[in-house]
Symmetry: C2
Subunit: 324 residues, 2 copies
Amino acid sequence: MERKKVVAGVDIGGTNTIIGFVDRDGNIVMEDRLKTNHYPVFEEYVAALYEKIESNFKKAEADIDLIGIGIGAPMGNINKGTIEYPADLPWKGIMPLSDIMQKHTTLPVIVTNDANAAAVGEMIYGGAKGMRDFVVITLGTGLGSGFVVDGKLVYGHDGFAGEIGHTSIRPGSSNRDCGCGKKGCIETYASATGLKRTLLKVMADSIAPSPLRKLSFEELDAKIIHDAALQGDRIAIEAFEHTGMMLGFKLADVVALTNPEAIFLFGGLALAKDLIFEPTKRYMEENLLYIYRGKVKLLESNLSTQNAAVLGASSLIWSVKEQQ
Amino acid sequence: MERKKVVAGVDIGGTNTIIGFVDRDGNIVMEDRLKTNHYPVFEEYVAALYEKIESNFKKAEADIDLIGIGIGAPMGNINKGTIEYPADLPWKGIMPLSDIMQKHTTLPVIVTNDANAAAVGEMIYGGAKGMRDFVVITLGTGLGSGFVVDGKLVYGHDGFAGEIGHTSIRPGSSNRDCGCGKKGCIETYASATGLKRTLLKVMADSIAPSPLRKLSFEELDAKIIHDAALQGDRIAIEAFEHTGMMLGFKLADVVALTNPEAIFLFGGLALAKDLIFEPTKRYMEENLLYIYRGKVKLLESNLSTQNAAVLGASSLIWSVKEQQ
């Protein structure tokens, strides 16, 4: 019997690293994990990661054929195979992840960031199958994006394309502080954290009663605001409306620059469905040049939030193999 | 002797259509023209255009080999070979330019808009030779753009990518009216017309004396404001500063989305050199995420403004031939 071809998809997070062997249909045939923060020395981390991949492969060698390793990491750079100045990982500076991994293996290794991986994952396993031009927006703690143009992920000259989360909503500096050091970045509005910040703003401006007034900023999260909005809480609904306004405004820019067939929303905030999709779509259309109106689909991601990072990371290898 | 390969580059404007035969090095070996507005029936216009190309080719047939026809037109759509709802041409609706032209000839015909043509022209003949990722911004009456990603022009799903001129500078509708029907589009600020509008705003806010106060809005143009700024006119200098602020702000978005190696400024307003480049660069850098700072070149176009439209249109054919 022919052995099943699989890719190792690796999702590097600040606490855990998740490893999955994924087949061409997006089935995860093996999953394992590693404590990222147990390895303060980067070389030792990579050795341990490779050891995990190899030991799992050895167990299943009779059945599977491992064809490559796709890795998603914050500030992962696809051109250089590096992780560069990540805020939430235990290592500092520029880590040559791909080069170090290639000391252990001759398999192809591809490194990129989470949002780029999500975009390729959507193309290989998800709702963007067969699409040539689309964008994936990840709405989590921050806002990430991955652009696919003519069937290929846009890397950019330095490998850092797609950082739409750090474009500003207006000129001038009277806006919200962003963790990146700038002000007014769209991710300070359109993200789980942005929704909380907007909720406080709405609460400050409004006199409407709301059970959310009993919760501190730190107690609040997107899920609580979502549940309140479903109960008809006017402040929560207004916070979603404002979040959609900001996101829709920016997505109109995305359309004007790259004219995609569809924009996929992915991640925690996208789970609020109509509460976020309806205002986002409405404000996007309002800001579109007439030639684009009514033409660009705003869709939910087809990747489950739970496995998306591993699926996305693994998809990079399939994508490259199929373009060869 | 081998005949020299040339492409027919066609620039369709509201009054004149300019036709040039262009060799691979960007030399225009023949130039002719046609009155666009003498042909209210589109089919008759295309027949006359083809006749011009053919008669010029016949004259030089012993020396040249015509390998294709590249056409730049307002609202030219590269996917469909159409001109769609142009504001400044004598015909209405959707004109299937490529299809009608192909009734006259078996040569390849490519249609696109002026800014996309300028981008490909920069890559084939100009300063972007050898670059894989760059953007050309055309600053004329309006603001156009063409994006090149991984060596290829970005068309988008509907063939209308690159309309950055109609992205807005901030959410909400308290901004300048744009000819497209929206408000606050960047081309109402960063263009020759935008500069005039900004000059009036600065003049209204300031009490500084200026000879420009003697001129009406209709008498003013970018050249007059440019000359005044060179003479030290404070109002003119402030208008350029503000124009650069708006343009730099938007270019930071361009960098975050596509991470280009360089951005080329092209067209009348770019001729103001430092007056526009210096503030644009400064505000672009100020709005960039740290990973991009100091890395993206802001360059003058290498194509002469006079011939750029014909060169750009012709370059489409070389570009496609060389990717085959």
